[in-house]
Amino acid sequence: MAALRHPAFLIWLLVFGLTGAYVATNSRLVTDMSQFLPTGASPLQVVLLEQVRSGAASRLLLLGLDGAPPSQLATASKLLRGKLESSGFFDLVHNGAQNLTPDRQATLFQYRYLLSTSGDADAFSTENLRLALQRQLRILTSSMVQLAQNDVQGDPTSAYLGYLLGLRPQGGPQLQHGVWFGKDGSEALLLARTIAPAFSLEAQQEVMAYLQGVLQQDAELQSLRLQISGPALFAQQAKDIIAGEVTRISMVTTVLMLLFLALVLRNTTLVVCSALPLLSGILAAVAGVTLIYGSMHGITLAFGATLVGVAVDYPLHLFAHKRPAETAVSTLHRIWPTLRLGLITTVMGYLAMLFSDFTGLAQLGVFAIVGLTVAVLVTRWVMPVLVPDAWVTPWQLAGFTRVFATRRGVNVVLWLLSAAALVFVVTHEHLWENDIAALNPEQKAQKLLDRHLRDQLGAPDTRHFILVRADSEEALLQRCEQLQPRLDAMVAHQVFAHYELISRYVPSAATQRQRQQRIPERASLAQALTQALTGLPFKADAFGRFLDGAAASRDLAPLTLAVYKNTALGQQVDNLVFHHDDQWFSLVPLAQIRDYEMLAQGLAPIGTDDSVVLLDLKAESNTLMSRYRDRALWLFALGAGGILLVLVLGLRSVAEALRVFLPVAGALLVTTMALLLAGERLSLFHLASLLLVIGVGLDYSLFFQRHRAESEECHKTLKALVVCAITTILVFGILAGATTPVLHAIGLTVCVGTVLSFLYAVYGAPFPARSTHLN
């Protein structure tokens, strides 16, 4: 075939090959969802979102083990814990069993009089010592066994036990056979924290694969069932669902589109050729995004591939407008100005996206601009070479064109509809979808399991927190200590059921020093003790270790949170404390909030300097979403302005520009109304899809307004548009049937938008052009 030796084709082949090689060696697909999430406007929000997204809590997996009697499950739980700990996937595994190493326990015991709140009262007075000793005597005599933890001789005032009891999670899971069990005792519970961040889906996939196979590695575990939940798993499953659906849908649409094109073009070469601009465009776009951003997001690729809706139109315009006696090259010369204007205006629309704060959306912009430009260039320079001169457009669609040619008056209906849509959209109350989670696939069974495991583990409210901020760890601990009386008062008033506070784990150095000062010297403590022991059956020399320990406490350097590093309790500490730049933050989780108003009031007086704030994570992320959406809307408007400007310049007439622009705007409004009426709420993905609709609509409108005067040309345009619209509707109609909200949103928007763009392009011109008549 001579065409294949044409310089244009050879150059294309060379560039295509080189780009392909570049993409193959350099392109990296990432699935980190955070690129599609807002980054936070204030430093506080940045920290908060980071904590929510990649903080310790987000990496926590909840595990439930069942399928055997409790004693066997307990053994299995311990075995599993050991396996997970040595797997290298987790930095922390917890099943309720003894969670402090002996040396860590020894450290805490050594510090007992600095850690325990009992040091705040006058614990070492003769009266209080006597009360403590009487209590110990009763425990000693009444209980059937001596508890290993209760060191009567070393700690008669129970400072250490009191401290440990204060740390025990309230409402947490019960212990059976020494490990966590669910409420009905049929299920052993574990927590495992992954080393990989939750949003790193590839790494999480490995973790899941490991967990799903871990029971099979051991004969003792094989018959059991392991249920898993956690934010990372949700993300993982969402990705799998989306990927599966995208694969299925793209296979179906590819086949259907090829069949449809074969039916219309009746020429295999041309069917293959019509895919060239699209494929070249996508390849170039991938290369462009990789070049600028270093990697590309999976969603960018999935969304970008939908540019098929516009890019496949370019060769179709060429095919439809080719006259029997004309070479493809000269056809292109005729339609080139329109094609070019369509491209420039569409690019204007996407240009706005480059300024988006979401890396993901900006990537989409780059992808669309590069992809469409290359698709048009390939159509312009390579396609004509490939279309045989003798080839004649085989499709007539006479019936179609007659239908569209006869219905006058539709114009008025369309404009009334647009006006109604404008009012409807502007006054609609629930225009926007603020809940990011609503965009993910529905995972009902998984959510139920998550709630179940969370319930059983007594996990706190995941939406409301108190956030405490300070300049140092010490200041943070002091601030938390100041907060404690208020929290206790609120618990007493049943504002909420319980809370967790970091200063219970390790008090501030200031508090520890105060407690040290209250510890008497050995001699005077010994004297008080001797008096306290009068009349009690204890041996006089039984408490030597207590006297030594208390005296030694006076000279200890205060303990810091580091004591919990790499321990199971340290997991809790990591959840509660984090620092960012020079700021230290602590979250105070609250459980079973009954009165939000009271809670807000209770914190108000100290909230003025925003070192202590009440957070509603959902509201916070919703505010962020709406802020970004408002910004996106501005960019959208800016893009529209740019499009209009380019039209005016390109067509050299304001009236002509409006004739092209207004049908697009009308179609856009009615599309939005249709979406809202269908029960959709608009998200950023709808907005991005509407940009695609603008691109489609602009092409339709430009081509249709181009030669209204020439009825033959007009007829050809109509033929082209019918085929273009059908291919687009085919592809996006199938996408609209997807169950994943993101895909459904894109599909439905573009599908409805294409139908309306077509109708508006044909009928919707706001006023008649000079001498215009179909037929």
Binding site: M144, L175, G178
Partner: protein, 184 residues
């Protein structure tokens, strides 16, 4: 106590049939109540302390020990729940038996004996029968090495299907001897 330490050497290997016969008597009783006297000794006490009160048992898992003297404290162990109710200071504490393995193993030994369940008893203990002048005498030593650090052994003595004495010997020294006067 010295005698208790010598006993293991003197005891002949227990005959399964003999153990089974002792425990079989309990299986038919599902409730028990009586009074007790408990004598506690400890390495840190200069003299022993005596407690008095009532004991109640319902099969399979309800145990109540109500101390009347020298103070009033009610301890209920029902299934996995432990409730300690102190009438003197009005404090009531509730916890899971599973959180206190040292206590659980002792409670289980009592429950298994009262239920006449030798297998359950053997899960946690090596069980031997010690020759007794009157009735029978079982010696239980914990299988778990960790528990052995706190609990040396338990001795249960009785006649027919009645427990007369329940004695817990701590590894660290000190013991608790509960003498039971009760009726089914």
């Amino acid at each position: 106590m010295g005698l208790g330490l010598l006993l293991p050497m003197m005891a002949p290997a227990a005959d399964d049939g003999q153990l089974a016969a002792i425990l079989a008597g309990f299986a038919s009783h599902d409730t028990f109540s009586g009074t007790f006297t408990e004598v506690k000794t400890s390495g840190i006490l200069a003299r022993s302390v005596e407690l008095q009160g009532e004991l109640i048992y319902h099969a399979p898992a309800y145990l109540e020990k109500h101390i009347r003297q020298p103070y009033d404290e009610r301890q209920i162990i029902d299934g996995d729940r432990v409730i300690v109710d102190n009438a003197d200071d009005g404090q009531r504490r509730e916890l899971s038996l599973g959180t206190v393995p040292e206590l659980k193993i002792v409670v289980d030994s009592l429950r298994a004996t009262l239920a006449g369940n030798l297998d359950a008893l053997r899960q946690n203990y090596r069980v031997t029968s010690v020759p007794a002048a009157v009735g029978w005498h079982l010696r239980l030593t914990p299988r778990d090495a960790e528990l052995e650090e706190t609990l040396r052994e338990i001795h249960i003595q009785g006649q027919d299907a009645h427990i007369r004495e329940f004695r817990i010997v701590q590894t660290a020294g000190g013991e608790s001897r509960v003498t039971i006067n009760g009726a089914h």
